[in-house]
Symmetry: C2
């Protein structure tokens, strides 16, 4: 077999605040022939997700940062094009973490074979994958919505937020979604079935939110932080649960914002309203993967959960799409069609 030309995007520099084009670099390298027990993968779809912003920084987090010069991390759906590993054969399609590149060599560990007929392949990066399971585990394990309660989620047309709202409704709760702009807002009620939808860009957003939550908020699925979280806080009911899943409004912060210091007031609310704030990462709930796969597949099949994708063509367009994602410019789950 001829040598393979691999196109890859590496971390060129750690961003200071908002990431820019020069922080990432497209390279072409020749891959050697695979060795014994290895597989050569061709990337079909690359997932772009907000957590990747964290990997670009050296700040301590739950996962190690991407090294300077290393390929950006990312979930992928790939096709096996060559294999010396008995578990895989050319033509197999696998879910893995091959990163931002056209090809990858793997020893097969952590790869999961996909059934081409079960669902569109890119769905394994979205509603049937990490974002869908993030919504499922965080909402049900920490949020624990009860029938008639009010569940609020922002970034609500995104893959996590849209699943949170739809699962909340399946559990009998009222789903209130927040998104940016009239088109996304409309999609929340018309496409995803939210009970109420809000545009966080509205100058009367805080009042709009209060009006949309006349009985207060019992579960706030925290994806964003920032002004949305500030508008939510006074509406939280006693015993409200706040699964903390993401803080996209703060990922580019390079220093603590100016005062006043809102921490004591938050703690006072935690105390007097007996709130529960709990951070989580989907991998903490790996034991729920079978339950998630069973429930979400069924909900997709019977139409109770809908998923929306924002497909970007070509690896070279991944950086711009990623920067847009951090600013809320995407509309649905962002996947890059690589091959």
């Amino acid at each position: 077999m001829a040598e393979t030309l691999n196109r890859r995007i590496v971390l060129a520099a750690r961003p200071d605040g908002e990431p820019k084009a020069s922080d990432l670099r497209l390279e072409e390298v020749r891959l050697p022939e695979i060795g014994p027990g290895q597989v050569l993968l061709k990337t079909l779809f690359l997932s772009l997700d907000p957590y990747m912003r964290g990997r670009m920084s050296a700040a301590k987090s739950y996962a190690k940062p991407v090294e300077i010069g290393a390929v950006m991390e990312g979930g992928t759906v790939s096709e096996v094009v060559a294999s010396t590993n008995s578990a895989f054969k050319p033509g197999d399609v696998v879910l893995g973490y091959a990163g931002w590149q056209s090809h990858a060599v793997s020893d097969g560990k952590g790869l999961r074979k996909l059934d081409r007929a079960a669902a569109p392949l890119s769905a394994w990066l979205g509603v049937l994958g990490m974002p869908g399971m993030t919504a499922y585990t965080g909402l049900l394990t920490i949020g624990q919505p009860k029938p008639g309660e009010t569940v609020v989620v922002a970034a609500a047309t995104g893959p996590v937020g849209s699943a949170v709202g739809q699962i909340a409704r399946i559990k009998g709760a009222r789903a209130v979604g927040i998104a940016g702009g009239p088109e996304k807002r409309r999609a929340l009620t018309e496409e995803f079935g939210f009970d109420a939808a809000l545009d966080h860009r509205s100058p009367t957003f805080a009042e709009d939110l209060a009006a949309a939550c006349p009985d207060g908020i019992d579960v706030y699925f925290e994806n964003v932080g920032g002004p949305v979280a500030a508008a939510v806080q006074p509406l939280l009911n006693p015993f409200a649960r706040i699964p903390v899943c993401g803080l996209i409004a703060h990922y580019n912060d390079s220093a603590p914002p100016p005062g006043p210091d809102r921490l004591p007031a938050l703690m006072r609310d935690v105390l007097t309203k007996r709130l529960t704030y709990r951070g989580f990462i989907v991998s903490d709930f790996q034991d729920q993967a079978p339950a998630f796969a069973r429930d979400m597949s069924a909900w997709l099949k019977d139409g109770r959960v809908k998923a929306r994708e924002d497909v970007v063509e070509g690896l070279e367009n991944a950086p711009e799409a990623f920067f847009g994602l951090l600013k809320g410019r995407n509309f649905g789950k962002v996947v890059v069609k690589v091959a």
Copy 2:
């Protein structure tokens, strides 16, 4: 029976920041004869507790504020001196909420008869009462200390903190206590058996705390907020639990403190370390009262839990003792010997 002269302390004004003597007022009033089904109580012991600061303010909280001119609320051990209620007879000793006064008239609701022989009567206001059960329920239900883990608590010579540390040790965890001044610090290890003790007034407090917690902090029982909480935060381990029980450092705050705004950094820690902050009030766990009574009585009897009291003589000295409590001047559970 002659009319009874009742001495009582009422809320004269809502404090602006730190409460002062003129915010409370000692009055004498004549009580009428008791009516049918009532009991006349003579207060033996009045409990002073930090939560009372909250009741002096009009700010929304989990309980209604004390009205201006009304008797300050408080837990009491009282003796029945007259009764037309068949459930009580003169000489009975009862636990209740008669408030800051020498006498009270009750219809018997919410009174619990005490066995004079079971424990010193004032213990029902401390280790066997609300503060002890606060420690027990918050630590075990939310903190969930595991053997070998590190549990940190401030105000640690107080009735809640000392019980938290001692229960943590009973459960096999390492107990690190924080208190103000060398005498209290010494009592933590020598009297209450903490594994390590710190003085929060030390100029090297943050470094001292880090040195005392070489394996990080798994449970931080939050009693105080303020600089202690700030020193704890960077030491919290992944999956740490923070029962939020009190914030005495902030009870006199009349406005949010100046910046920077530490809220986003806290939320980032909640997310990346998967922390759980959960507020609670002992009454949320009323169903645990029998388990608490059984366990704590046994621990007191076999000496595994020790309790320290700071007894104040005379109702007229309650205000000054309460102001001192808010500044950490007490040393142990504050009870006022009223009769």
